[in-house]
């Protein structure tokens, strides 16, 4: 997994609430057996018309936001399915940070496994960053995970909370399977106890 320390990039505003996983990556693109290559179909149904042409009004099709690395979104971003194709598509497009007042649990967890930082902030902070994001090419935010701060184009700073373990994994690009395997003795002990106490499991 790619390490995450700091990102300076354009933030795209997506104020719509309840942006669900089917919007992020529609099901017809889930038929892949790979993790890569989904960026071109990110937000497919909002981004392209029936003939496959770009819809100019859609934020990520606007010149200022085509290389956005940050999304500032309405409440409950990523609700719906467990599909990890959603963060894979965001990452493949180049998005490394999503900021909202709330995220669906599974999507939130999936982001951290893929080097994407989802940031939860109070409504007033999201409103302010949404305003910043509306400034097109000037909508540049600096997200610093080590110091847990976001700096806006005017120099205003917002700080955010993040789980210490998740932060550690993201900053170091750690694979948690490797970390868990270091606890294989504890897993073996648990399994041995369970084999006696609950043999039906």
């Amino acid at each position: 997994m790619e390490k995450f320390t700091k990102i300076t990039g354009v933030a795209a505003p997506m104020p719509l609430i309840n942006i669900d996983t089917d919007m992020i990556i529609p099901k017809l693109f889930l038929k892949t057996i790979k993790r890569s290559g989904l960026g071109k179909n990110l937000f497919d149904e909002m981004r392209y018309d029936d003939a496959g042409a770009e819809i100019p009004d859609f934020v990520l099709n606007k010149p200022a936001y085509r290389n956005a690395q940050i999304i500032v979104a309405g409440d409950n971003f990523g609700c719906g399915s467990s599909r990890e194709h959603a963060p894979w598509a965001l990452l493949d497009f180049g998005i490394r940070v999503v900021i909202s007042t709330s995220f669906a649990d599974i999507f939130y967890s999936n982001c951290f496994k893929n080097g994407i930082l989802p940031i939860i902030l109070p409504q007033e902070d999201v409103d302010k960053l949404m305003d910043d994001a509306e400034r097109g090419a000037n909508a540049v935010l600096n997200v610093d995970l080590e110091n847990q701060t976001i700096t806006g184009p005017d120099g205003g700073e917002v700080s955010f909370e993040v789980d210490a373990f998740k932060k550690h994994c993201l900053i170091n690009g750690l694979d948690d399977i490797g970390l868990t395997m270091q606890k294989s003795d504890a897993i073996a002990v648990f399994e041995a106890q369970n084999a006696t106490s609950m043999p039906w499991v």
Binding site: F103, I177, N194
Partner: protein, 467 residues
Amino acid sequence: MTAKTLYDKIWDAHLVSTDEDGTSLLYIDRHLVHEVTSPQAFEGLRTAGRNVHAPDKTIAVPDHNVPTTLDRLEGEVKNEESRVQLDALEKNALDFGVHYYPVNDIRQGIVHIVGPEQGWTLPGMTVVCGDSHTATHGAFGALAHGIGTSEVEHVLATQTLIQAKSKNMKVEISGKLQNGVTAKDITMHVIGQTGTAGGTGYVIEYCGEAIEALSMEGRMTVCNMAIEGGARAGLIAPDQKTFDYVMGRPHAPKGAQWEAALAYWKTLFSDEEAVFDKVLTIRAEDIEPSVTWGTSPEDVLPISANVPAPEDFTEGKVDAVKRALDYMGLTPGMKLTDIQIDTVFIGSCTNGRIEDFREVAKVVKGKKIKDGMRAMVVPGSGLVRAQAEEEGIAQILIDAGFEWRLAGCSMCLAMNPDQLAPGERCAATSNRNFEGRQGRGGRTHLVSPAMAAAAALTGHLTDIRDL
């Protein structure tokens, strides 16, 4: 001893270790696997030279992509991408030695219907699957939730999951349901009350007289949609109905082990003094047959209501409702019962079980669906299909004009050929009404099986109590 909730008890029984910051390693008893969210996880194992840690606790079944038309029995899947995914699942299952039900095995079906049916899902277990509707298994008093593909790989490699404990919410449905109101209406009504983010960060335990009165099938319907309310999992304490359902299933314990298991399962309830972080009480008699009008599962109203207007809402929901009404092609103020329907889909892990089809058969017996209506019933498993045929239900549905399909997820998410065309409007017994969910531009109204059957007969959304 501190009083514990059901969630506390299951959590504690599966803790392998807890770090100082509260991050815990939780043991996973059952890992269900399907073709869409697993190929990258198996590939990850191969690349790292890892094995499946507990193949005996891992069950693979194809469901999302499989065609449900009868020609599936004759040969290979025509869509190449689907076929590649299905072949990958088979190869991975065989290579890594996990339990596997092939496409044309009678036990094949939607993973969340197969698990309970085969006795893989048992009270007190932890159950995960790369699918958000894993919440279904909570009906057995099992802690069950969806995970992403990275976590699928983590569970395959270690049989554990890194977790932080969720908060606890109690949702009590007191009293008795009115006639025509089903488990589906309960679960939709709850989401209408909490919103799709209301459960975020929580595990919900459903309880109360109306929940106790439900069959196991009904309880699975309720827990299935816990995720649509944002909850990590839904739970219902096991009781005699649970034990009766489980007994004799192929992978349920037998003999002395059954007795030992039963003694343990009877300890699985929330202690009377246990504290919940949040409590929601709903009177069963306040729940009406329900229907969604918008593009989020929280857009729920009683069938007797009218389409709302954006101004009825506040903040970000105003724009979301404008967008939803435009997408759905609806005008504020129109009666929900005036909404014309051209497609009916009955099936999915929410409502693809035998009891659901019995309900439908009761409504349509001796009648015909509306001229021009496209209506399909897709069983949740090959065994549900066989049972419906044996009970004469299948014939009633066929005589009424329904297509009678093979088992799979089908038009719930439209990854197989069953899709809506742009503008088509469907009454569906599934769980999501998102934009494009059943096909680009397709419009979905979520309803109970009985309400879907009623719409198939009349050609518009219909109050089942009026039939």
